[in-house]
Every structure is written in structure tokens, then in C-alpha cells.
């Protein structure tokens, strides 16, 4: 338990991705089975204890601590597991380092509900405060140490000298504590293989393309689809490696998002793995990303949330059907099977992403410019461009060259004035790297967005210098910088879309804003106005409406 606790502690404070990978790799190398496998399961969200939940911790706290002092402490610390681990009455005489992570995990899984509080209390008595924290974090499930499932699997890949996607290929063939997986990584056994197709497949990604480059291609060799502005997901359901019925929703990095979308996963009535876009549909039309974001922001899926933001998956590829992996088939053949699959599952929470009909690139360009008339109809607001896919393309992990292209709608850009800057974190912690910018509304600047990327390291250093030299006010980590008509800094901000928003003072929300250029040359008075943004917004609404 000590080693696992020390790992979590180090990871929680390590801001650098490479630093985290090194810590994980070292831990996996130096820790014996089955402890390392349980640790891996804890970090990838693969552990769930039926009887050990946050409620158990509250019960123990109530038994062992003064209620007033507990309430004051919890209020101060803000985290249940941390509060209890810090204030648990320590009994150093009984401290015992032999408690292993496996003892704890197996105990949490097998101890009858009635005996569990006593068992956990006895462990807490034997652990030091870091060990207590790790144990309680295991129970609450939310480790919050900045390690994604993908990052943990990348560390495994480094351990075994493999590619992360190779880990994905075998990941679902083994289960905690992953003995076969580690044996394979250390060259002591064969790759785990499973008699199932229910798993995450590393997704195939596309390359951006410019219209001129399309002229080299024959349109007859390609299909085109709308590029939907949602989140890329995989829906996987069927019989798993252990003969059990399983259903999962994976994000594009392989995180299991099933818990956040029980309304979807519960309705997977098929045996297949589908690639598609998670979207929200209300009143018969697909909603923009801003609306989807409101559901994504919530941690737990309440009935109200699910009713207010009904989700579905717009599917565009079929990766496995039954037990058969279809990825080697050409796109056109998979598409054919996908169409009959969708027709055969009218009650699944999916629908088919339509193909765009076109004979020439010009026709496709016209559809892209006006999706509403090009076939997207009422869903045009959720279109962010078109996808162009070779008819003969197999489904390959990663971003293979020459098969899939994305032709996004042109970004919009405005000139805005820097108003506030905030210090970044990690490597950027000494730099002011998050910028709030505004546009003119009469004689006043109204903040319209925040951007923290798009610039080079050299530009960041220059921006930081500007912020420090032109500070008006300081509010904790935020500085207000000079922004008068004559003095200030103009930033050219590019963004993917504009939406109405009641949450912002300006009444507008930008999608993916980033700094595209620093206009050292331009006086603030020449920056854009709120009217300009309003016109951009209206143009968008009429073009798509």
C-alpha cells in the first residue's frame, strides 16, 4: 500500500506529462504482480466496489471523530477522503507496512457489507496518512491525480517497448490485475487475445485539406460526410471475453464514458462496435456544441439532465459486427454493412450520418458552404465542415496519410483588445498565458472570450513582458492590463463559431478561440466592435437557418 500511496502522491503533484509517464513506468517496472495490476485498474477506472462507497467513509468519520470538528475540517479541506485521512486518530503503535494493495482491493471486493466498516477502520489504523488517503481515494473512486486511462496505457507501452495502440488492441482481452498483460509486456508470455470484439479500437483520424489540394484527386474515388460538431465516441456492445453481456461508450482516447451516459449505454441492443459522433437532439434538430457542453460539464447523469439534453450517436463507421473485426475492409464495404445495420436497429440510440451526394469538388464546396441546402437540413447548425474519405480506405489506427481528410469551414477572425491576463500552470506557472480579450461597445470594451493557445514560446515571452509592463490592477493570479483607445495590445483572435449565450456579458460565446496573430502595430481604437460580432452571428444564422 505504501508504494501505491507514494505513487499517487507523486503523480498528484507532478505537472509534466513526461514526469508522470516516468513515475508510472518506474512503478510498473518495480512493483510485483498483482499489486501493479490493481494500481493500473484503479487509475483506469476499472475498479468498482459494490459495498464500499463514499457513504462508508462518512459513517466511519462519524464514529471516530467529533461531528463539529469534522464539519469544520471538511469545510476547510473540501475533499472527503483527504479530510478523513488527515484527521483520522492515528495509532502509530499499530502501524504496519505489510498491508498490500492486493489485500486492500481483494478485501474491498469480498468483505460482506456488514463487516466492511470494521475492516476499513482497522486498515486506517494501520496506515500512515498518505496510505489512508490512497485507501479512501480507492473507495471514492475519483483519484484526481491527472492520469487518464490513455496516459496509463502509454506508460505500459513504454514499459514493454510498444506503441500505445498495441496496448489498446490487447487491453480488453485481460482484466484486473492484468497478469497476462504484464507477462506479455515483459516478454514472458503471448499477447492476451480475446474471443470478443467488444473493446475500444484506436480511432482513425483525418488530415486537414485545402480546396486546391483536392484538385489532384478524382471525386469518384471518394465519399463525403458532414463533419459533426459533437464529440467522437465509440459504442461497443456484445458478449465480452468472459461470456458476459457488456456495453461501453468510449471517448476518442479510450476513456470509458459509460457512467455519464447511462441513457445511451443502457439502450445498446446490438452486438457491434460503432464509430460516430455524440450529439444532443432537441425538438427534432441537432444542437450546437455549446448545448452539448452543458451536459458534458455535469459529473453525474441525473434524470433531469438526460431529459433536458437527450443524447444520441450519429454513426459513420462500423468497426466490428458480432465477433468479426471489420477494420480491414474498404470503407465502401463497411459503409454498406453500416447502412443495413442501422436499418436493422431502429430502436438503438443511433442514426446514420448521411453521405453528401456530389460529382465534382465544386458541388462539394457548395454543400460545405451551405450545409442546410446541401443535405444537412435542420441539423446544419451542428455542421463544422465536411469529411472526405477514400472508398478503398481500411480503418487504421492513428492518422494514416492519404485516406481521410477534413475540410473545415473557414475560421472567423476578429481584432480584439487584451484586457486581463492570468498566470498559467505547470511549465507556464511564471508566465501570464491566459488572455481575456474584448471588443468595443461604444466607448467601452466588453469581454468576449478567453484564449490560451495559438502563440509560440517566443510570442508567449513577449506577451508576458507586455502584461507585466502594463499592469493596472492585480486580482490574485489575474492582472488587468492597460486597454484604452490609444494604449493597449490588439490580438487577432480566430475561432470556429459563434453562439448566443446568456452566461456571458456580451451575449456571445466563441468556439475554440485562439490567438492567430499579435497586432503590435494596431492601436486598440481600430479593434473590432460588438456589432461586427453580431453581424457574423446573424450571417451564420441566416446561412444555416
Amino acid at each position: 500500500m505504501n508504494r501505491f500511496a507514494a505513487l499517487l502522491d507523486r503523480l498528484a503533484y507532478e505537472p509534466r506529462r513526461l514526469g508522470k509517464l516516468a513515475l508510472l513506468e518506474t512503478y510498473f517496472r518495480d512493483t510485483p504482480d498483482p499489486d501493479r495490476g490493481w494500481a493500473l485498474a484503479a487509475m483506469t477506472g476499472a475498479l468498482n466496489f459494490k459495498n464500499a462507497k463514499a457513504g462508508l467513509i462518512r459513517t466511519l468519520a462519524a464514529e471516530r471523530t467529533d461531528p463539529v470538528l469534522f464539519a469544520l475540517s471538511y469545510d476547510f479541506v473540501g475533499d472527503l477522503a483527504e479530510t478523513v485521512s488527515l484527521m483520522w486518530p492515528a495509532d502509530s503503535a499499530r502501524a504496519n507496512a505489510t498491508l498490500s494493495l492486493s489485500d486492500v482491493v481483494e478485501g474491498l471486493q469480498t468483505t460482506p457489507k456488514g463487516e466492511l466498516p470494521g475492516r476499513v477502520a482497522a486498515w486506517l489504523d494501520r496506515l500512515d496518512e498518505n496510505g489512508r488517503w490512497a485507501l479512501l481515494k480507492l473507495i471514492t473512486g475519483a483519484l484526481r491525480i491527472g492520469v487518464s486511462a490513455r496516459l496509463a496505457r502509454t506508460a505500459l507501452a513504454r514499459l514493454g517497448g510498444r506503441e500505445p495502440d498495441e496496448i489498446e488492441d490487447v487491453w480488453h482481452a485481460d482484466a484486473p490485475p492484468y497478469l497476462k498483460l504484464f507477462a506479455w509486456l515483459e516478454g514472458r508470455g503471448p499477447a492476451p487475445s480475446a474471443n470478443t470484439s467488444v473493446r475500444f479500437y484506436p480511432p482513425m483520424l483525418s488530415h486537414p485539406i485545402e480546396p486546391e489540394a483536392l484538385e489532384d484527386f478524382d471525386p469518384a474515388e471518394f465519399c463525403a460526410e458532414w463533419k459533426w460538431d459533437g464529440i467522437r465516441v465509440q459504442a461497443a456492445a456484445g458478449i465480452d471475453a468472459y461470456g458476459q453481456r457488456a456495453a461501453h461508450l468510449f471517448t476518442r482516447t479510450g476513456e470509458d464514458a459509460s457512467d455519464a451516459f447511462p441513457d445511451l449505454v443502457g439502450a445498446f441492443d446490438f452486438e457491434a462496435v460503432l464509430d460516430g459522433e455524440l450529439l444532443i437532439r432537441r425538438e427534432g434538430r441537432v444542437q450546437d456544441f455549446n448545448t452539448l457542453q452543458q451536459r458534458l460539464n455535469r459529473k453525474s447523469a441525473t434524470a433531469k439532465l438526460m431529459a433536458e439534453f437527450p443524447a444520441f450517436i450519429r454513426v459513420y463507421d462500423l468497426l466490428a459486427l458480432g465477433k468479426e473485426d471489420l477494420r480491414a475492409l474498404p470503407f465502401a464495404a463497411r459503409r454498406e454493412q453500416l447502412e443495413s445495420f442501422a436499418a436493422a436497429h431502429p430502436f438503438a440510440p443511433i442514426d446514420l450520418s448521411p453521405l453528401i451526394s456530389f460529382n465534382t469538388w465544386d458541388e462539394l464546396a457548395a454543400a460545405r458552404a451551405k450545409p442546410a441546402d446541401g443535405g444537412a437540413g435542420v441539423d446544419a447548425e451542428a455542421v463544422e465542415g465536411v469529411m472526405i474519405k477514400r472508398r478503398d480506405a481500411p480503418y487504421l489506427a492513428g492518422r494514416p496519410k492519404g485516406y481521410w481528410f477534413k475540410w473545415k469551414r473557414d475560421p472567423m477572425a476578429i481584432d480584439a483588445v487584451l484586457m486581463y491576463a492570468q498566470r498559467g500552470s505547470g511549465k507556464r506557472s511564471s508566465y501570464y498565458s491566459d488572455y481575456t480579450f474584448g471588443v468595443w461597445s461604444g466607448d467601452e470594451l466588453t469581454p468576449v472570450g478567453k484564449a490560451y493557445f495559438g502563440f509560440t514560446d517566443e510570442e508567449l515571452a513577449e506577451l508576458d513582458r507586455f502584461v507585466r509592463a502594463n499592469t493596472l490592477n492585480r486580482f490574485g493570479p489575474v492582472r488587468e492590463v492597460t486597454h484604452t483607445k490609444a494604449k493597449g495590445l490588439v490580438l487577432e483572435v480566430a475561432f470556429e463559431g459563434l453562439q448566443r449565450s446568456r452566461r456571458h456579458k456580451s451575449g456571445l460565446a466563441m468556439r475554440f478561440p485562439r490567438i492567430s496573430r499579435i497586432r503590435w502595430d494596431k492601436p486598440p481604437r481600430d479593434a473590432d466592435t460588438l456589432d461586427t460580432l453580431e453581424q457574423l452571428l446573424q450571417r451564420g444564422e441566416t446561412a444555416e437557418g
Binding site: P15, L72, S73, M87
Partner: protein, 339 residues
């Protein structure tokens, strides 16, 4: 005599009416007794100041020689009677020169402890218990979540990290008066015999400690040098410097912070701290309890901090406790939030 006739709170601070004297006043007054040199307790501009000679020297170094109209040094254990009230000072174990003030009159003893700690600190004499009727205590870390580990343990964590990342510089945020010198002395006690580099803001007080006989080894100012010069170095700086361009001169700086608040993960993460060092110059929860019981006081007055929790505990022990809600006392361990 009623304790409140000897000492009671006023907006300026704790006031002894018979002596017309304030303890650690937050505004300029005619006569002040200063428990220790931290700036929220030791302000410039008083008429006459009574304090240990170390505290007077620290005030002189930090506020300039004209920080008070006149000064008088009082050694630990020495007594002085002002307006019929007998005052004496005892070590508080907080920083160099820090003292508790005992005010006695008519057989009633009121002890104002200032800020104090019970953990060992090689840079100042240890806290001494003063039996009293009223014990006036701080409550900075008065919650059961605060049990400070030993400073040696935390400094070993730092040395382990230095050994693990020999190519990086470790920058330790530590308050300029007390914490920085305690970290230096603890580094020496733990076997670190290489030079310790110090930010310019730490140098004056560090020199003063040395003059009072506190051995801190080879402490050097940070100077212009190629980045690689500081590979494997330990550098101490005031916490406010951690997020300024000053740190960019060091190779891949590892941000450390020595403070009792580092026990709370969110506090460490908010500041972008990679290596939190839980080293505090204030009493932790068990030591606050122990100290209150050992003084034998029946009445406990709480000056600043988490007064509710401590008052609740005192009530459970059958002690009469009240929060004075004195304003103006900050907490040097949380310093440096805004850069």
C-alpha cells in the same frame, strides 16, 4: 483581580490599561510590547517599544533604524513593572527572538503567547510553559487535520528529490523571517553541506541570525550565472518570488514550498507547487491542545485563526474559551498569494 482588568482586546490590539501598553498593536500607539518580528505583529511607528533584543534587531533590519521613538530590550526571564503590572517574557519557539508575554497583577497571571510552536527549531530557544490563569493563544492551525510532520522528515523529502533530479534546481519558497533560516538550519542538520543559495530578500535577516550565533553554513546570494550552474542546487526564495520571471534563470525549476498549509493538497496545487514541504512555525492541533492543558489556565482567549474549532474543543474540556476576533493578524505562512 479580574483578568480583563489586566489585559483586554481593543481595536488596536491587546491592551493593558494600568500600564497604558498594547501587545503587538496593529496601529501606531504610545507604548507597545512586541512578541516577535513578523510584520503583522511588529509594526513601525510606535512611541516606545519593549521586546527581546533579537526582536528589536529584526525590526531595525526590516523597518529601518527609526522604527520607534525609543526601545528597551527585555531578556527572557527578566521582569519589568509598569503601572503596577509585572511583565516578563519567555521563549515562544516561533522565530528568533519570539516571546510570550506574561502580565501579572494582584496574583492573577495572564499569558499572551503570540505565535508559537512546540516542534524543535535549531534557530531559536524552545517554547517554555508559563503557568497562568488566562492563556491567550493563536489558532492558525486549529483543526484536527493539522498534525505537522517533523521538519527533518520534510527536508529529507527535499533531499530525496534533489538526488532524483540532479539536473534541476529546487526552489524552496519560505517566508523571509524564520522559516527560511529554519529550513537552512534543518538542511545542515540533515547533512546538506553544499552551498545554499538565497534570494536577495532573505539575505538581511539571514545575516542577522548569523550575528546572533545561529550557524547556517555557506549561504550565498543568487547571482548571474549560466543556467547549468544551478543544476542540483537548493535555492531559497520568498514565496512571492516563485511565480515571477526570477525563477526562469534556473534549470527546469522544481517548485517547493515550506508552509503548514502544504498539508492541504488543494492549497499546494493552487500555487503550482510540485514538492510541498509541511514545515510550520505555528503549533499544530495536538500541540495547541497540549499547551493549553499544560498552562493550567482555566480561561482561554483565542486571538486569530480557526477559533471556532479550538473554542469547541476547550468547551469539551470544561475550559472557558472565547474568541477575541482580533483583526490585522495575517499569517506569514500563507504569504505570497499574489505576485
Amino acid at each position: 483581580m479580574q483578568p480583563a482588568q489586566i489585559l483586554h482586546p481593543r481595536p488596536e490590539g491587546l491592551y493593558a490599561p494600568a500600564a497604558d501598553l498594547y501587545i503587538d498593536p496593529t496601529r501606531p500607539v504610545a507604548r507597545a510590547l512586541i512578541t516577535h518580528g513578523h510584520s503583522d505583529h511588529a509594526r513601525a511607528g510606535h512611541g516606545a517599544v519593549l521586546a527581546t533584543k533579537e526582536t528589536l534587531a529584526i525590526m531595525g533590519a526590516r523597518c529601518g533604524p527609526g522604527f520607534a521613538g525609543s526601545t528597551q530590550a527585555l531578556a527572557y526571564g527578566e521582569e519589568i513593572t509598569i503601572g503596577g503590572v509585572r511583565f516578563s517574557l519567555r521563549p515562544a519557539g516561533h522565530v528568533l527572538g519570539s516571546a510570550q508575554a506574561l502580565a501579572e497583577c494582584g496574583g492573577t497571571r495572564v499569558a499572551a503567547s503570540g505565535d508559537y510552536k512546540r516542534h524543535p527549531d535549531p534557530t531559536c530557544p524552545p517554547f517554555e510553559i508559563m503557568p497562568c490563569d488566562v492563556f491567550i493563544t493563536e489558532a492558525t492551525f486549529a483543526l484536527p487535520v493539522f498534525t505537522h510532520p517533523s521538519a527533518d522528515h520534510e527536508v529529507m523529502k527535499l533531499l530525496d528529490s534533489v538526488a532524483l533530479f540532479p539536473e534541476r534546481a529546487h526552489i524552496v519558497g519560505a517566508y523571509a523571517l524564520g522559516k527560511a533560516q529554519r529550513v537552512m538550519a534543518t538542511l545542515r542538520a540533515c547533512g546538506w553541506d553544499k552551498p545554499i543559495y538565497a534570494h536577495g530578500a532573505l539575505l538581511a535577516v539571514t545575516e542577522l541570525y548569523r550575528e546572533f550565533g545561529v550557524d547556517l553554513g555557506d549561504v550565498r546570494p543568487v547571482q548571474d550565472a549560466p543556467k547549468s550552474f544551478y543544476a542540483g542546487a537548493i535555492v531559497l526564495a520568498p514565496p512571492s518570488a516563485l511565480q515571477t520571471p526570477w525563477v526562469r534563470r534556473f534549470p527546469d525549476p522544481a517548485t517547493c514550498f515550506a508552509s503548514g498549509w502544504m498539508r492541504i493538497r488543494a492549497r499546494a496545487r493552487q500555487r503550482g507547487v510540485e514538492l510541498p514541504l509541511v514545515i510550520s512555525d505555528h503549533a499544530d492541533w495536538p500541540d495547541l491542545q497540549r499547551t493549553i492543558l499544560e498552562t493550567g489556565a482555566g480561561e482561554i482567549w483565542i486571538t486569530h485563526g480557526e477559533a471556532d474549532a479550538l473554542a469547541h474543543w476547550c468547551a469539551q474540556q470544561g475550559l472557558n474559551a472565547k474568541a477575541l476576533h482580533l483583526v490585522g493578524y495575517g499569517d506569514e505562512e500563507a504569504e505570497g498569494a499574489a505576485a
